[in-house]
Symmetry: C2
Subunit: 226 residues, 2 copies
DNA sequence: CGAACACTTGAGAGACCTCAAACAGCGTGG
DNA sequence: CCACGCTGTTTGAGGTCTCTCAAGTGTTCG
């Protein structure tokens, strides 16, 4: 049973607009801007890996469909995150937008000679991040208890999404996305969030907004102990 | 509760014997041979990461102690596997031998100018393997059912350990190690193995030897479906 | 041969999953 | 403007599976 049978392959890239982009430490190359609506596919598992993407606005989910039919979301990409780096010819995950999203696409062209080492450093950095993310994911999935996984997920979202207010997060992804990331069912995710709310650890003013009221409790819940 | 409270820090490296080593594609440098007995510590989480290791004989487990006190084995290293690569100053896992083990230790010295790119390639290769391993681990932990995890673990061991006979594996690690790798209890691992035996999918002639009688069944069990 | 250790098996409790139903937000059409 | 339907979310009840606690079996080593 596929969690969300919505893998629509829509390739409506706007005509690539060549323009100079801000030169941040990790991307010193020219790219093209790609604007996508909600639930559009950037690339699919198995596609040729020809471009590297950087989120300028919005959010993307990276997922795999497992042989059993379940969907596994390996990671999310938010503003300033890179994704799509592969070291062989094909993508190993599918990338889909969670909401309206603006991406910077960098074509993977043969780099100039003087850019070679810089390109290399960029690859190593991206690999490091991907590896760290995968290892953190393993740690989260290592907790058998749903509360610990959800708490760890919220802690990670605090670090990545709480621009400005450190106690408020706007989750762009659906409950189902969270469930497929934590390898739980959507009901268990909902129940865990409700438990946290009843325990006065968080508040849920609206569906996708979470207010952290007790970061310490959330942190301790991360370990599975209470 | 720590699964196996046996993290003994024994540093009885034999005096490093400088000698030329076989020049495989991934290690074209001089190293020193390290001989360790069972359950000895190669390095611990937090130690300075100064060396890269390669298993010449035996096996090593790479583990973390989580804040809650549980042990998580992130990976195993068998013959010809490399481990210990870190991109910052400290190791993020603890490495312990599973049985009598011989390692090739390569000091992480500042590489010569002409070796720089080669060293770089080596790092990228190691990162790729670590990343693939972490992603595969995530997929295994994604299965909520114990049988699927154990089946996936056995399939992975077939690929990595079945030298010669593709249907026989000699597992060097203990049941507790397997449990801490799959994030299950030792009892559940035992029960899953017994179930597989009763289902005539595997045979267990001795504790650490497993004979695969029906690879197809094992493969399908990997998905969680039956 | 005995003791320590690792492994296996059993019984009961708790947690998550499955199935089901109710609720809320949102856009559409009357 | 409101009814309606659709989608996504939340809550409830029961079953199944794993974990906990416990006892028993087999191996290895002194």
């Amino acid at each position: 049973m596929i969690s969300t049978p919505r893998a629509v392959m829509t390739e409506n890239f706007i005509p690539p607009i060549r323009q100079p982009i801000d030169r941040s430490p990790t991307s010193q190359t020219i790219g093209s801007i790609v604007r996508l609506a909600t639930h559009e596919t950037v690339f699919m598992e198995g596609d040729d890996a020809q471009s590297l993407y950087r989120v300028m606005a919005g959010a993307v989910r990276l997922c795999k469909i497992l042989p059993g039919g379940r969907r596994l979301i390996t990671d999310f990409a938010f503003k300033d995150d890179q994704f799509g780096l592969e070291l062989d010819a094909h993508h190993k995950v599918t990338a889909e937008t969670i909401g309206p999203t603006v991406l910077l696409r960098t074509r993977r062209c043969p780099p100039m000679q003087q850019e070679q080492t810089e390109f290399h450093d960029n690859i190593v950095d991206a690999l490091r991040r991907d590896l760290s993310a995968a290892q953190a994911h393993v740690v989260i999935l290592g907790h058998p208890e749903a509360r610990a996984r959800v708490a760890a997920f919220l802690m990670s979202m605090i670090r990545r999404l709480s621009a400005g207010h450190p106690h408020t997060i706007d989750l762009p992804m659906s409950r189902q996305d969270i469930a497929d990331h934590l390898c739980l069912t959507i009901e268990t995710v909902c129940r865990s969030l409700s438990e946290l709310r009843r325990a006065h650890v968080i508040d849920i003013p609206s569906r996708h907004r979470i207010v952290i009221k007790d970061v310490n409790s959330l942190e301790t819940m991360t370990t599975g102990e209470e």
